[in-house]
Symmetry: C2
Subunit: 85 residues, 2 copies
Amino acid sequence: MPRIIVEVMPKPEILDPQGKAIASALPHLGFTDFSGVRQGKRFELTVEGEVTEQVLESARTAAAEMLSNPVIEDVISVRVDEDAA
Amino acid sequence: MPRIIVEVMPKPEILDPQGKAIASALPHLGFTDFSGVRQGKRFELTVEGEVTEQVLESARTAAAEMLSNPVIEDVISVRVDEDAA
């Protein structure tokens, strides 16, 4: 079934303790190429039937209203998952 | 600075309580186009200097060893963020 991918990240100015914790742990494990890490969320929405523009718009609204907290997060992208059968 | 995006999702056979909770809430808020929701993680790794194949390989290893739990999660993709300046 077709899927829509929604990606949500913390706003750049917002403190990201999880990302900071990972960024400080990476060098200790030998990963020295990365100067920063930020952690966000990725959602897969399974769609009944076809992904029409109306369904995509509904996903955008759900992303803004339910899947993210607009005070601290940005919806980075809402796109059709080309890999989904 | 260049960035690498790492996407991690729960394995299909693994129960995803967060995804289930969202999927059951969506219709109550008027979003009726979606039959399922799964929630995973999205990481942005900021890279010092250029993203060479060696740096990308290092990101793949970090994704498998640190950014995901191989027992319950799959690394969906590790890619260069084309939008990053």
